[in-house]
Symmetry: C2
Subunit: 242 residues, 2 copies
DNA sequence: TATTATTGTCTCATTTTGTTACAATAATAC
DNA sequence: GTATTATTGTAACAAAATGAGACAATAATA
């Protein structure tokens, strides 16, 4: 059972990252949360930085291991560096629940500074995979998160705040939707992120006014009503077949 | 001459901070830049984080040592973590120019991840003090910076970008002006930060509309014209006597 | 062919912003 | 004193952006 722990020789001590991975299921904004074996502890997916690895690459690597997704839109939003934030007791609990013997002074029990990133991914492309210490990884709606360990609750809060503030600017980098989408779907994303309803006509006019969308064929869903157009972002190659 | 180098026992390895300290002289935005002894190298003021010290506190401490200012408006804006960023040769040059013998493997020559902060301070309250390794610290206008070492040029760029994006929101935390100031002075700050001229009447209406200013007595400068009012930010105690 | 739900667009009201104008000063020159 | 000058505070109107509602144009179904 007991796997090999990350070694201090391979990683930079005292430095970690945590990632807030946002996904969208069509109506709600969700986040990927890990649950550790036999501990009842919930946490953000995180990891360590190799000694010869760029910080950004370390996060991409962790994200790929967990979601299978490559070259994801990632944004660093804050570095958490209070002394109070790490909790050796929590770390020890996690490790021991996994049958690791943890000697006093193990680097994993030290103080950690954590660089936090958020990612916007397409919920449907993803097959979440737990890491060695966790028994599950699941999507949770942002208003129904379990209590998170250490300061991970604060990290999520700050991620959401940053995302809300930058929504306009980050629209284009957005990966929450498939490459072709309807105006309605885009509006739902906005509403899920901002947490408020928007007016359809104003929203449509504003988005079209930004001149960042390319219009494609119509989408016939079988509903008894006029069919909406599909759009894609001008700066991205749309994948054919919706 | 040779002072004692910071010891690995006291500080967290591989972790540093750099600060972009903005000041305003009435017309231009300036930044504090260090010059290292006998090297011709220019750098941002930075430092290390003590093992039992909050990250934010470390930056406050460094700022206080360099400017004498306490409890400054500081904002963390990015963490720079590329492997290419540190340059052991540069660090060795700096240390050896200060008559330090640097053994191979010294922690100061390692890779460093740097958390970058910017500060907004009142130019006139400040008596910049160089640190042990530097022979001078000076204000430089943001469009006339000397070539900075390592990635410090990029750090400044990103600081400016962040400041411009957040100007509205950070207005209140602003310390670029004395506690009482005229509308004209405030407009000059905006123009210096944004790098563009603004229209007087629109600016005035907009700022007053935010309802964050308290109006005080008039300021008589001796000019042959109507005297402007002095204002202060509602959330800050104005210091009497302009 | 009528009905229903939803979409794209138009119109008009409201709000915000851009621009100009102008009266109200503080000093100075006469 | 009184005219002159530079700058400020604010009003007034124009232009642009946004809010809110109306409505015709569909895709299905009854």
């Amino acid at each position: 059972m007991s796997k090999i722990l990350p070694s201090i020789d391979e990683y930079i001590p005292h430095l970690a990252y945590d990632s807030v991975i946002f996904g969208f299921n069509g109506e709600q904004l969700k986040i990927l949360i890990l649950e550790y074996h036999n501990t009842g502890l919930f946490a953000l997916p995180g990891g360590f930085v190799k000694r010869n690895e760029n910080l950004d690459d370390a996060v991409q690597r962790g994200l790929k291991e967990r979601t299978g997704l490559d070259k994801i839109y990632l944004e660093q939003f804050h570095t958490f560096g209070d002394i109070s934030r790490p909790n050796p007791a929590v770390m020890r609990t996690i490790l021991e629940a996994n049958d690791h013997k943890v000697e006093e002074g193990n680097w994993l029990l030290d103080r950690f500074i954590s660089v936090a990133y958020y990612a916007l991914i397409n919920y449907n492309n993803v097959e979440p995979k737990p890491d060695e210490l966790s028994d599950s990884i699941n999507w949770y709606a942002i208003d129904k998160l379990p209590p998170l360990m250490m300061d991970h609750g604060k990290i999520v809060e700050k991620a959401l705040e940053t995302l809300r503030n930058n929504l306009e600017k980050k629209l284009v980098g957005m990966n929450l939707l498939p490459s072709k989408f309807t105006m309605k779907e885009l509006q739902l994303v906005y509403e899920a992120v901002l947490g408020e309803k928007l007016r359809r006509t104003t929203f449509q006019r504003k988005i079209l006014g930004l001149d960042i969308l390319k219009r494609h064929e119509k989408l016939f869903t079988g509903g008894a009503h006029k069919a909406p157009y599909l759009y894609s972002f001008k700066n991205k190659e749309p994948i054919e077949h919706y």
